[in-house]
Amino acid sequence: MSYAVELINISKSFGNVRAVRNVSLQIRKNEFFSLLGPSGCGKTTTLRIIAGLEEPDSGVVKLDGKDVTYVPTHKRNIGMVFQTLALFPHMDVYDNIAFGLRMRNYPESEIRKRVKEMLEIVRLSGLEHRRIHQLSGGQRQRVALARALIVQPAVLLLDEPLGALDLKIRQHMMVELKRVQREVGTTFIYVTHDQSEAMVMSDRIAIMKDGVIQQIGEPYEIYMKPRNKFVATFIGDAINMIEGDYLEPGIVATSLGQIKTIASDEYFGKRVIVAIRPEKVLIGSEVTGDVDNVFEGTVSMTIFRGAFIEYRVMLGHDIEFIVFKPHVGSSAPLLTPGSSVKIGWNRDSGIILVE
C-alpha cells in the first residue's frame, strides 16, 4: 500500500531564509498526523508544498504514490483549512461549502444533498444561509472544515485551525476534529505550535525546528523517548534536566554527584543531559530506601494546579526541580515552602539526551 503523502528530501528557501530543509515524511492513509513546532519553523511552508501552493527548491512530493511535485493545486486531490480560514466573504455558508462540488460540475440536486449531510457532520444545520460575518469563530471553523471535506479529498491539510479560538472552544473543537476524522476516514495533516493539541489528536507527530524534522513518532513515544533536548522541552508541560558526563556504564557524573541511569554504550564518554518528567519524581515519604537516585532539597514553591500539586524544589544552589503530585485520596498536608524534603527517582525514569 502506498502512503497517502510522501515527502522526499524537500527543501525550500525564501531569499536567505531556509524555511524547510531536507524534510522527508511518510504519512499513512487515514492517519491523523501532526506537524508540531514553534512559530517560524517551516510548518506552513511544508503544508503549502504538499498542497502545491509553493514549489519546493528540491525534492519530491508524492500523493498516493504518484509524483505530484509539479502538478498544480487544483489538480491535486487535497483539501485545506487555512490558518486565516479564507472563507469566501461574498458567499453564504451554503455557497462556501458547495464551492468545491460546483467546481467539479456536480448537479445542484446532488450538491444540495451532500451539503446537507456535511452540515450535519460539522453540526451547522440550519445556518446554511448565514453570511460568514454573522458566524462565531467556532462556527467559521466548522464551515472551513466542511468546505474542505465535502469534495472528499484524499488528504486534508489543516494549518493551525484552532489558533484563534478560546481555550474551552478549542478543547471542544479538538475532540470534534478527531470525531470528524474518524467519521469521514480521511488522512489529516494537522499543523500546530501547541503541543497539547498535537498530543490529544494525533496518531503520530513530527516535531520541527528551524526547517528540520527533529523526531517523528506516536505521542507516547515522543513524550517518553524524546530524541534531543529540544523535543524533550517542547513536548509536555515541563521537564527537569541535569547536565553531566557519562563516564561509566549507567552512571552520569553531575554537579549534584553521581546519577544512576540506564546503561547504553552509545553515550560513553559524552557530555549528556539527564531528563526526568515532573510526574516521575518521587517526593517526601515516597522516597524509600530502594530508590536509585535520592537528593536532599528545599521546597521553594508550592502551586495548587487543580488536578495535581506542583512543587519547586531547590537542589543545591542552582538546580530547581519541578515535581507534580496527584492528590487523589491523599490527605497528607502540603509541603510548605522552606521545608526540607527528599526527592528521588529510579534510573529507568531518567531520559538521557545529547544536545
Binding site: 498542497a51 487544483h74 479564507a86 469566501f88 466573504p89 491539510l157
Partner: protein
C-alpha cells in the same frame, strides 16, 4: 474652557460641524444652482437688463426649442456612445493593470507603480489634450510609426473623428477607473484564490468566482466615476473632434457661452436638466443591473 473643549462637549455642535457644514455647502453650491437652472429651463427666472425677475408660470418653450435644435438627438446619442466606450476602454485597460499592481506585484513596489501611472496627470489637462493632438495629427507620431513599419502608405486622419475623441477621453478618464479598481484589488486576499485552488478551481474559474465578484464595488464605483462626467464631456470633442463630434456637453457649452442671453441660458439649462435626468436613469439602471450583484461580507 478652550474652544476644543466646547467642541468636544457639545454634541449638537459636533453634529453641526460634521454634518451641518457639509450640508450647507451642498445647499449653496449644488442644490441652489440646480434649482436656479431648473427655474431657468422652465422660463421662470429671467434676467431683464441687470435685474432678475421671477415669472410664476412655467413654460416648456426652451425644451421644445432644444428639441428643434438640429442634430440634438444625434448628439445625445453620441454623448452616451462616447461615454460608454470610454467606460469600457478605461475598464479594459485598468483592470489588468491594477490586477497586476494590486495582486501580483510585490507590496513594496505598489505605491511606486501607482505613482508612475499618475505622473501624466500632474500636467495640466489642456496641455495633455494638446499633446494628444500632436500625437494624433496626420504628421504625428502614430501616423509616423504606422508608416515606418509599413502598415499604411497614406496618413490616417484621426483628428475630427470619433476615434480621436474616444482615444483622448479614455486617456483622460483612466485614473478615475484605476483608483477604485486598485482600491479593491489591492485589498484582495490572495489566500481566497489559493483556497479556491485547493477546492479544484482552475485559475480562470477562481477569477470568475472570487476575484471578479469581490472587485465589483470597485468596478461599479469606477464606471460611475468615468461614465457620468464622460456623458457631459465637452472640452475633448471641441479640441480633438470636429463638426461631427458634437455632444450634449458641447451643446450646453455653446448655448451658455456662445448663444448666451435669456434664450441661450434657458435652452442651455433645459439641456443640462435633460442631461441630469438621463444620467440618473442610466446610473439607476446600471446600479440595479451590476449593483444587485454586490454583496460584501
Amino acid at each position: 474652557m478652550s474652544i476644543i473643549d466646547i467642541i468636544r462637549r457639545g454634541k449638537k455642535l459636533k453634529l453641526f460641524i460634521f454634518i451641518g457644514i457639509p450640508m450647507i455647502y451642498l445647499l449653496i453650491f449644488f442644490f441652489i444652482p440646480f434649482l436656479i437652472a431648473f427655474l431657468y429651463s422652465l422660463g421662470m427666472f429671467k434676467q431683464v437688463v441687470y435685474q432678475y425677475v421671477f415669472v410664476p408660470e412655467p413654460s416648456l418653450e426652451y425644451y421644445s426649442g432644444l428639441m428643434k435644435f438640429p442634430g440634438i438627438f444625434k448628439s445625445i446619442q453620441r454623448s452616451f456612445y462616447y461615454a460608454s466606450l470610454t467606460t469600457l476602454g478605461t475598464f479594459l485597460i485598468s483592470y489588468p493593470l491594477t490586477y497586476y499592481i494590486g495582486v501580483k506585484l510585490e507590496e513594496k513596489y505598489r505605491d511606486l507603480a501607482v505613482l508612475i501611472i499618475f505622473t501624466p496627470f500632474w500636467i495640466n489637462f489642456l496641455l495633455r489634450v494638446y499633446a494628444m493632438r500632436f500625437i494624433l495629427h496626420e504628421a504625428g507620431m502614430i501616423n509616423l510609426i504606422l508608416r515606418l513599419i509599413g502598415i499604411i502608405s497614406e496618413p490616417i486622419k484621426f483628428l475630427g473623428t470619433d476615434t480621436a475623441v474616444i482615444i483622448v477621453m479614455i486617456y483622460s478618464y483612466l485614473i478615475f477607473m484605476v483608483l477604485p479598481l486598485y482600491g479593491v484589488l489591492e485589498k484582495l486576499d490572495v489566500e481566497l484564490l489559493e483556497a479556491a485552488a485547493t477546492l479544484g478551481a482552475t485559475p480562470f474559474k477562481a477569477f470568475i468566482k472570487i476575484t471578479l465578484p469581490l472587485s465589483l464595488p470597485g468596478i461599479l464605483a469606477g464606471s460611475l466615476l468615468v461614465f457620468i462626467p464622460a456623458v457631459g464631456e465637452f472640452v475633448i470633442p471641441e479640441l480633438v473632434g470636429g463638426p461631427n463630434t458634437t455632444t450634449l456637453g458641447t451643446i450646453i457649452y455653446s448655448f451658455f457661452l456662445r448663444v448666451r442671453g435669456v434664450t441661450g441660458w434657458g435652452i442651455g439649462s433645459a439641456a443640462a436638466l435633460i442631461y441630469i435626468v438621463l444620467i440618473l436613469v442610466a446610473s439607476y439602471v446600471y446600479m440595479k443591473f451590476v449593483g444587485g450583484e454586490v454583496r460584501l461580507g
